[in-house]
């Protein structure tokens, strides 16, 4: 009985091994297939990641090329003979109807971001999303990339275009003034020197004109947007918001003489003036800049110690030249003060010897030229011009003669003497040791347009003083070499060491 049952059972189990084998094979096949699919997906992901990363770095390369070429001191500065007005001068915004492109086509390729009708030439549809109108309605200028891509042997970055535009509330999607209106007609500025550095709206200057700076140290904010499309289909649209970092210098007077005991001797000539009205005199214009800052004092002093520096200055002005020092404060009837000699407060990078010393070192680190020892105009860089202001530090005495005119930011750590028909457009800082003297015996019609500061921060042995020492300003001659306040030249003289990134974002590209 039992044997019969056992035989029957064995008969029933016949073929199980096959089934099990088949099942196992199925499982193995499934696992194998899963592994194959997983590998393919991984490969695909890796490929996509590679494309994305390549596109990202290509777009970053475009952003960085633009950020670098926006600097006036870049050898590939965007403003050149072909496009002299591609970028505005330092401190000046672009008008909101302006757009700039750097194009980077591959060999044989056409890149035309303003051609919105063609999806194959990388149209810039993002512009309309940010500025509320098609890019074809804006005024555009283009330049080509300086990458060696087109030369073939060494491939450059594969971005297609970079766009530079003025940042607005609408384009950045930030309501800066909290009025619930995202303005798209006024450029944004950023004041890094403010107590709380922040974005602020510019001062409107009419349609088609760039807004002007709301504060003396505010700098315009630009959007830099780059599109990269790499072979295989990877594409990235990246965007920076950048602003120029400068030395953030502004001045409360055409001529600032901080210190404990100012020695002042004014000019004899009838056409020598110290004028605190912005843009007074006859300065060469800074492209795109309209002097519009409030009137400052003609001569500013700080009342350090018991000595009345205002009286020191007034005592050095000839009786019949008192009306040659005009400026703030302005009376209710609009009349300027004359003589305009006031106590002033310098900004917080120039109040103490330590601060001024730090400022001089910072300027020196970013200078176009540092002359160690005494110098004359022959030591100045020949490339310096009205369109190319430079930062020059003379670590010694500086003597300027003849018909020389300098442009930019000049720091003299010793005595500064000038004669003849000489002048400077920008900032002159005579910040040095106990012998600091400004000596003038000029003539003719040149001018010092911008601002000038004379301060003593070290003793005769070169040791830093605890407080600003006595400074001396002597114009034994005269001529027309007066000092005229000019906010445009003050800004233009501070060529930015870099463009600081304020924000970074990735945008979906729709072609």
């Amino acid at each position: 009985m039992l044997k019969a049952k056992s035989r029957k059972s064995r008969k029933q189990e016949k073929g199980v091994a096959l089934l099990i084998s088949i099942f196992v094979l199925l499982i193995i096949s499934a696992v194998g297939l899963a592994m194959v699919f997983a590998t393919a997906t991984e490969s695909s992901l890796a490929g996509n990641y590679k494309l994305s990363t390549t596109a990202r770095y290509a777009a970053m390369a475009g952003l960085e090329e633009a950020r670098g070429r926006m600097l006036p001191k870049s050898p590939n500065y965007l403003n050149d003979a072909a496009t002299p007005n591609f970028m505005p001068a330092t401190g000046i915004a672009l008008a909101t109807n302006q757009v700039r492109y750097i194009l980077n086509p591959a060999p044989g390729e056409v890149v035309a971001p303003t051609n919105l009708a063609s999806s194959t030439t990388y149209p810039d549809n993002e512009y309309a999303a940010e500025y509320g109108q098609a890019v074809t309605a804006a005024v555009s200028q283009t330049k080509t990339s300086v990458s060696p891509l087109n030369n073939g042997t060494i491939p450059g970055p594969t971005y297609k275009w970079v766009r530079i535009t003025p940042a607005t509330e609408a384009s950045l999607n930030i309501d800066v003034d909290n009025d619930t209106n995202y303005d798209n007609t006024v450029s944004l500025f950023y004041d890094a020197a403010a107590a709380t550095p922040s974005l602020m709206l510019g001062v409107p200057a009419g349609a088609g004109n760039p807004a002007t700076a709301p504060t003396p140290t505010a700098k315009p904010v630009f959007e830099v947007t780059a599109l990269a499309v790499v072979p295989g289909g990877g594409e990235k649209l990246l965007q920076y918001a950048v602003t120029a970092t400068t030395f953030n210098l502004n001045f409360p007077a055409a001529l600032s003489l901080p210190g404990s005991n100012v020695a002042f001797n004014g000019a004899n000539s009838n056409q020598w003036f110290a004028d605190g009205v912005d843009g007074s005199g006859n300065p060469p214009p800074v492209p795109g800049c309209v002097p519009n800052q409030p009137t400052v004092s003609a001569v500013g002093v700080t009342n350090a110690g018991a000595v009345n520096n205002i009286n020191n200055v007034l005592g050095g002005i000839a009786a019949n030249r008192m009306d040659h020092y005009v400026g703030a404060p302005i009376a209710a009837n609009g009349q300027l003060t004359s003589p305009s000699v006031s106590n002033v407060t310098l900004n917080n990078t120039m109040q103490t010897p330590a601060e001024l010393n730090q400022l001089v070192q910072t300027i020196e680190q970013n200078a176009d030229l540092v002359v160690t020892g005494n110098a004359t105009e022959s030591n100045m860089p020949s490339q310096m011009s009205v369109n190319n202001p430079m930062v020059v530090v003379v670590d010694g005495n500086f003597s300027m003669t003849g018909n020389y005119t300098g442009y930019g930011l000049l720091v003299v750590t010793g005595n500064f003497a000038y004669s003849g028909t000489t002048g400077w457009k920008g900032i002159v800082l005579v910040v040095g040791d106990g012998t600091t003297t400004f000596l003038g015996s000029g003539g003719g019609n040149n001018e010092f347009d911008g601002a000038m500061l004379v301060a003593t921060i070290k003793d005769a042995n070169g040791n830093l003083l605890p407080a600003l020492g006595p400074s001396s300003f002597q114009i034994s001659g005269g001529g027309g070499n007066g000092v005229y306040y000019n906010s445009c030249w003050i800004n233009n003289a501070q060529t930015p060491p870099t463009y600081k990134m304020l924000s970074f974002r990735e945008i979906q590209y729709n072609d």
């Binding site: 004899n268 019949n320 001529g479 027309g480």
Partner: protein, 191 residues
């Protein structure tokens, strides 16, 4: 006084009688012992120390003046007053209002009040150099106004007007300096 008047009459008669022109000098008249002109000219040093020195006052002189002398003196006084007034006007126009606060010693006026003709010449030369520069500047502003438009043109015209004011003031200073130089060139009275 009577004695002096009599002596004066006698002296005048004496001079007239000798047929001289009538231009008797005060010194001649004042001589206590009237002497012929020829004698006085030939030997004046001997005559002077011989007599006590007479100090003449304005009152004394007035008595000697003829109506013609008085007219001449009046005219001279008027001219002097006019010159002083003109000088004051010049000084007023070239000197800014006194804006010196209390405790500040007013500085000397620039390019003014030379102490010598050499100094005056230097100041005038300085002013002339400035005038040349100012004229040049005016030309530049005129060209600028002609070749520009809008705010730039307005700026040039404003600058031109400003420099015209400066130039007029400089010319006044030159005029004043020349007057001061002429004063310096006048021979100073002998002590």
């Amino acid at each position: 006084m009577d004695t002096i008047a009599q002596k004066t009459i006698w002296a005048s008669l004496l001079v007239l009688s000798f047929g001289l022109t009538g231009k008797a000098t005060l010194a001649q008249v004042a001589t206590p012992r009237p002497t012929p002109v020829s004698e006085k000219v030939t030997d004046p040093p001997k005559a002077a120390p011989a007599k006590p020195h007479k100090v003449w006052t304005d009152d004394d002189v007035t008595t000697l003046r003829t109506p013609a002398d008085q007219y001449a003196a009046q005219k001279a006084a008027q001219e002097e007053a006019a010159a002083a007034k003109a000088k004051a006007e010049t000084a007023k126009s070239t000197t800014a209002p006194a804006n010196y606060p209390e405790g500040v010693k007013p500085a000397h006026a620039a390019l003014s009040d030379p102490k010598s003709t050499e100094e005056a010449n230097k100041m005038i030369a300085w002013e002339n150099r400035d005038l040349d520069a100012q004229a040049d500047y005016l030309r530049q502003m005129q060209e600028c106004a002609s070749n520009s438009s809008g705010s730039q043109r307005d700026h040039c015209l404003t600058e031109k007007a400003r420099m015209e004011g400066v130039m007029a003031k400089t010319q006044q200073e030159v005029k004043a300096l020349k007057t001061q130089k002429a004063e310096l060139e006048k021979p100073k009275p002998q002590p």
